[in-house]
Amino acid sequence: MAQAIQQLINGLTLGAVYGLIAIGYTMVYGIIGMINFAHGDIYMVSAFIAVTSFTLMAAFGVSSVPFALLAVLVVAIAFTSIYGWAVERIAYRPLRGSNRLAPLISAIGMSIFLQNMVQVTQGARVKPITPMLTDGFDLFREGTFTVRLFHSQVLIILVTVALMAAFTYLITRTSFGRQQRACEQDRTVTLILGYNVDRIISLTFMIGASLAAVAGVMVTVYYGVVDFFIGFVVGIKAFTAAVLGGIGSLPGAMLGGLIIGLIEAFWASYLSAEYKDVASFAILIMVLMFRPSGLLGRPEVEKV
């Protein structure tokens, strides 16, 4: 029982991170109908920005953890959203309206580029940061097993909930949210109505990248290590989360993220830790076989 509760906590933490990244996939898919393969690598770039900023903070003698976290979040969001913008502008915008394969290949190329760019400029080795937020609450004890809730886990879950609330407000209540949803339904008509579709798409990429940046900072704090390859597997898992929740559906992405996080945590602790990645891939294939529209998505009708 105690172990199950511990895995529940770990799974929710992991799931919150996957959910934040999955939103980036689902938003981009909703608006331009393509899978942004480079999104996982955007997350990886943000983790590296976080490592550099944390180290800079330490070098300048900032000892207050909340201040350092806030500052690093702001810096990471700012720079990562520029990366998100640049990826769309360079690799996807010129291909809008061409055949279906071209943007996908371009996205793969971008993903390979980002991975290797980070490897060349930042080094191939794992980067460890000074551990922070290592304290936790001991919830209860069962025999020798203590259920522990780390401060970093509380932080991840709280930040995710706050971001989700802000994000839902942005999409459902603001003018930009309405434009974004209009774009999702019909780009041409949105253009005729006088909105700058290119700008809306750019902003969508920047928002997706910002959420990935938050996930990147959180993971850096949580695990304390990053390397240039982390974007690949996390990207596939977040994509699985987006498909599971129903691609194009924002609450679906979050729900899918939580489910994938929980499955992974329980699978790793009860079945086998080696095959935990296989579990997510297998779920992806199963979902596509039996319910391609996902849990909260609508079935897709292809129009001529």
Binding site: I49, I108, P128, S202, I285
Partner: protein, 429 residues
């Protein structure tokens, strides 16, 4: 944020402004990656700055953007002043291509005779041919049928491990195992393709990516079956009609049977001819498939799936055929790879290998057989030129994939030529 400027009459001030805004974005992108880095110093990280390289990068972006804009505009002006060429003229280029093709084949066949003493050259050429074969196999899936397969290396691995296990556990020879391994790889293709090919193409891409990882993780973790990270070693080399290419004395050596002197390069040259033959068979097979109804349907499905459905083509089966044939060819290449190396481990079947094969197909021009050969030559020989190239190889691949998609979505050599062109009665082709 508006750095778009396509009007043909840009003033110098406009150009500079455009260049500056690009350089500014380059600066923002460069600061966290190029300008700053962290180095590990005895367990703790320290920030290191590299302002000169950042300044160089920003300068290159500035100049590059201005030059690029000028080139683009002069192209646009020239295109506007020239009458549009009639489209659909594909006959002329195919003659030149066939001459180049036969010439290249002659060179490839004569190569090991000329360089028979130089083991390094023949070895490198064999590697090129493995990639040519993989490229031709993937070309069926990506170039002809228009399905993006990001886990092609999985079928390569299935072929390699099938041969490795059959030969080390059951004593099978290369030639018996070859068709079996191809069949196993093809059935993996069917198992994976059947549920996913009915869906949109993007899903296939990510599912194949996941599948490639599943296969690799199983190979790493299932130690009893695959040897885990240590792989499988002492895989037998291919022989010829029961003879081996081992030193004389074993009784089955081909040098004894023929009564010629033994040389260690004989085996290397033989392996080269085996892969050359396999690659040529692949090419012939794909060429004749393109003339059959299924092959024609591949291209039709690539161009317009809904129209194909309306014409009564079973789109799923057509795609499945392409996927299975691509998988089978990948399996053949895997068998050869295992036999040539004598040792395989999951290290050889990572995602970056899939990415390299995809890069070969994309850079060469999707659907173009000749393009695959050229791209394989470039991609294999480039890292051989020096260590610097090897380090930047994947970086260059990624960049090239994006740039080629942006400028020539069909690939360098391809004009997306359909195998058949409709000519109305009374019209000239």
């Amino acid at each position: 944020m508006t750095v778009l400027a396509h009007s043909p009459s840009m003033t110098v001030a406009d150009r500079l402004k455009d260049g500056f805004s690009c350089a500014f974005i380059g600066l923002l992108l460069g600061i966290p990656m190029l300008g700053l880095t962290t180095v590990d110093e005895g367990g703790a990280l320290r920030v290191m700055t590299r302002w000169p390289s950042l300044a160089l990068f920003v300068g290159i972006v500035f100049v590059g953007r201005i030059v690029l804009q000028m080139i683009k505009q002069s192209f646009a002006r020239r295109r506007a002043s020239r009458p549009a060429k009639p489209r659909g003229a594909v006959e002329g280029s195919s003659r030149i291509q066939s001459i180049i093709g036969w010439g290249g084949l002659g060179l490839a066949a004569a190569m090991p005779i000329v360089f028979s003493d130089n083991r390094y050259v023949v070895d490198t050429a064999t590697t090129v041919l493995i990639y040519v074969m993989l490229g031709w196999g993937l070309n069926v899936v990506v170039g002809l049928a228009g399905l993006l397969d990001l886990g092609y290396v999985a079928f390569y691995a299935v072929g390699a491990y099938t041969y490795a296990l059959l030969s080390t556990q059951f004593g099978w020879g290369f030639w018996e195992a070859l068709p079996v391994a191809g069949g196993v790889a093809a059935s993996f293709g069917v198992i994976l393709g059947w549920p996913t090919l009915r869906l949109r193409g993007d899903y296939l891409a990510i599912v194949t990516l996941g599948f490639g990882e599943i296969i690799r993780l199983i190979l790493v973790n299932w130690t009893d079956f695959s040897g885990g990270p240590n792989g499988i070693s002492s895989i037998p080399r291919p022989g010829l009609f029961g003879f081996t290419f081992s030193p004389p004395g074993s009784g089955t050596s081909i040098v004894e049977a023929l009564g010629i002197d033994y040389a260690p390069t004989q085996r290397i040259v033989f392996l080269y001819y085996v892969i050359l033959a396999l690659a040529l068979l692949t090419n012939l097979f794909v060429r004749s498939m393109r003339k059959l109804p299924t092959g024609r349907a591949w291209e039709a499905v690539r161009e317009d799936e809904i129209a194909c459905k309306a014409m009564g083509i079973n789109v799923t089966n057509v795609k499945l055929a392409a996927f299975a044939i691509g998988a089978m060819l990948g399996g053949f290449a895997g068998v050869f790879f295992a036999a040539r190396q004598g040792f395989i481990s999951p290290e050889s079947f990572t995602f970056s290998e899939s990415a390299i094969i995809l890069a070969i197909v994309v850079l060469g021009g999707m659907g173009s057989q000749m393009g695959v050969v050229l791209a394989s030559l470039v991609l294999v020989l480039l890292p051989e030129l020096g260590r610097d190239f090897a380090e930047y190889r994947m970086l260059l691949f990624g960049t090239a994939m994006v740039l080629i998609m942006v400028w020539r979505p069909g690939g360098i050599l391809s004009h997306r030529a359909p195998t058949l062109v409709y000519v109305a009665p009374g019209e000239q082709a």
